[in-house]
Amino acid sequence: MFCQILSATILGISCEPVTIELDISSGMPVFVMVGSLSSKVRESQERVRTALRNLDIYLPPKRITVNLSPGDLKKDGTQFDLPIAAALLTALEKIPKDSLDNCMVIGELHLNGDIEGVPGILPSVIKARELGISTVLLPKANAAEASSIDGIRIISLSNLNDLISFCLDTSSTKYDHIPKSNAHSTVKYPDFSDIKGQQSVKRAALIAASGFHNLLLSGPPGSGKSMTAKRIPGIMPDLTRDEQIEVSQIYSVAGLLNSDTPLITQRPFRAPHNTLSIQALCGGGRIPVPGEITLAHRGVLFIDEIPEMPGRTLDMLRGPLEDHTILISRTAGSYRFPANFLFVAAMNPCPCGNYPLNSCTCSPFEIQHYHSKISQPVLDRIDIRVDVPAVSYDELTSSSDDPISTSVLKKQALKAFNIQKERYRGTKICFNSELSPSDIKKFCHMTEESKRLLEHAFLKMDLSARAYHRILKLARTIADLDNSDIISEAHISEAFCFRNQNLFKRSR
């Protein structure tokens, strides 16, 4: 007696279909599973056998062979319990033979027959739709997550009995998942009006969010660096539907979606502690899972106290900051994870935090050592640097809300975003920060005065070619915020104020 059921396995953040083939034939009573299985998959036979027995279904004393095809694909995860059980039930003729045709089955089993949720549902459902599958059977816990995909029937099951009764009458809508009307609860970001004063910091945040420029905040402890960073995703343009699905897929694979947040609708904000390991940052594991840089995709990655971060870990950001993606190679295969994030870093001006005030107790050597912990290639990828001054008492105690709020800033950022979208239509570029030197020539037109100013400053301040390009990219975003097609003197000067200067250049 042979039968087959379709399921899926996760590879990186994409998904590959897997067919579960099951055969019951005469021979020594044995349960064999083959097809490049990890131990997690192998354990599945014990769960399936026990769960079925607890429903008073006993396996016949025959040779049971399960093959997960394609055989050369490494399979991992616990989502094969339910399809294996379904295949067994079909083979035992407990459910009609053709009831699960054109269906994908995913789910983990408890020993009592209850069905448990698994990570990676969203990519699996998307794959099923691509393959033209009409119905996906999945755990109730994952149903909300799957419902964000249109055009496919979602059957949510809470135990094995549900599976049997669904298969006996596939036309009944008893198990169909009905999405709740307001399933996508919107998480509110904290508002910029909570931050009193700090005009230049807010301006820098706006420029960073509008042009997707990486940002370095430097200031004494308690001046509001983390507060600022947390508010940045709030002023970035909303995610489009496609981007929401893209980000949600990552979170689905990482197992971070639940019934409360079935779909990521807001830009992610990730703030890992600076002691995190390289694997946690970039993604890793024998079968790689997404790291923080991938979880921050299309959002903000914030690292506080960046000089305290081990240099090796920090340097891992060099590639992803350039390529917006990371390729992780393991013996099990190579996986490409997206990593297009806005990098926001924070640091104190010196180890004690008070430099350049006289209350600073650090020696010049200590300060230099502190700064030199951030490697130059990483600094080179950060376009904006802004000082966050300590908040004055008047600002702190003022009762009125600051006029510069998230909604005001977002409106401006959106305008600049639309200008960029229009300008870079038909190219691969989305934001000003992605311009290459040749693009800069093409897109950054300057007035004669600004050309002269830039030339003067370039000679006087002894700038490098890289600094020159960085200033122009920044000035392009500032001009966009000003709704100006041509870069004027004022735009260049402002870019100069916010440029990321060489921290080590202590003496002139």
Binding site: Q198, R203, P356, P364, F365, Q368, L453, K460, A490, E494
Partner: protein, 299 residues
């Protein structure tokens, strides 16, 4: 190109050596010989020692550079100790002014201490200056060596200038040596609230000369400024500065300020202030002691 001490030859100069400076022979506690890299100060020219705090403020940095540069351009040799802070700025200022500068070290002449001054070592030697040390060629920088080498710094000079010093500091030790040796002491006055100026201000109290401009020192040395440079006009009276530029300049002092505070003090928006700050920086009226912070530059 960084400095390699072994690229330069050493000499040991004994008391009997004709090159042994006459100035040192006047005092009893001078070394019987010392190592030299480069050359010795020209006895025909005047020398001024400039010393001060290692951890100086941007005011101290500005003052040390300004004095050293102006003195050097009037043919004065600058002597200091090549420590971080004021010492380094004095050497740098002298080199900027086209003079030659000499350093008396607290370690062997083949030891670069502090490492960050490696470039400065090289330029001192390449610009006709010299490194002097009474310690062995590779003697490490021992803390108790530094106060004792100060007696040579003051003995080699015709006047001593102290820029910034805390109440207990090596610069005050240099001052007491200078007093014993009968060398005039000049002091750059500081704020009474600033701990970095407490030592220098107390010297003023005890009768040291206040150095309000390099001219004060040049006058004492009997040097008349060769070409009368045009009097340093404050940008506030300079007609080439616009009204808003002056307004912003008024709110900037020698205490470094971030952009935000400047905006608040002048009640202007960032775009406007940033434009003018860049202009002022390009004109050399202000500078950034640390990225993102602005302070007045003394030219």
């Amino acid at each position: 190109m960084s400095y390699n001490p072994y690229d330069y030859t050493n000499r040991y100069i004994k008391k009997t050596d004709p090159d042994y400076p006459e100035k040192l022979k006047r005092y009893v506690n001078m070394p019987s010989g010392f190592y030299l890299k480069g050359s010795l100060p020209d006895p025909a020219k005047k020398s001024v020692a400039i010393v001060g705090a290692r951890k100086c403020s941007s005011y101290g940095e500005q003052a040390a550079r300004y004095f050293a540069r102006t003195l050097a351009s009037n043919g004065v040799q600058i002597i200091s100790g090549l420590a971080t802070g004021i010492d380094s700025y004095a050497h740098k200022g002298c080199l900027e002014g086209g003079g030659s500068t000499f350093a008396v070290l607290g370690c062997g002449v083949n030891i670069i201490y502090p490492k960050s001054n490696s470039m400065l070592y090289k330029s001192i030697l390449d610009k006709g200056g010299g490194l002097i040390s009474e310690y062995d060629l590779t003697s490490p920088a021992l803390p108790f060596n530094f106060p004792t080498r100060n007696r040579i710094i003051s003995a080699l000079s015709d006047a001593l200038l102290i820029v910034e010093a805390r109440i207990k500091s090596g610069s005050l030790i240099t001052a007491s040596y200078a007093l014993e040796q009968g060398i005039p002491i000049f002091v750059v006055p500081g704020k009474i609230t600033d701990s970095l100026s407490a030592g220098t201000n107390s010297l003023l109290m005890q009768g040291a000369y206040p150095a309000l401009s390099p001219d004060d020192i040049l006058y004492e040395l009997g040097i008349r400024r060769e070409k009368k440079e045009e009097k340093n006009i404050s940008p506030l009276h300079d007609p080439s500065f616009s009204k808003t530029e002056k307004q912003i300049l008024k709110s900037i002092s020698d205490t470094p300020l971030p952009l935000d505070n400047i905006c608040q003090m002048c009640n202007l928006d960032i775009a406007k202030v940033s434009t003018i700050l860049l202009q002022l920086e390009l004109k050399g009226a202000i500078y950034q002691p640390s990225p993102g912070l602005y302070a007045i530059a003394y030219s």
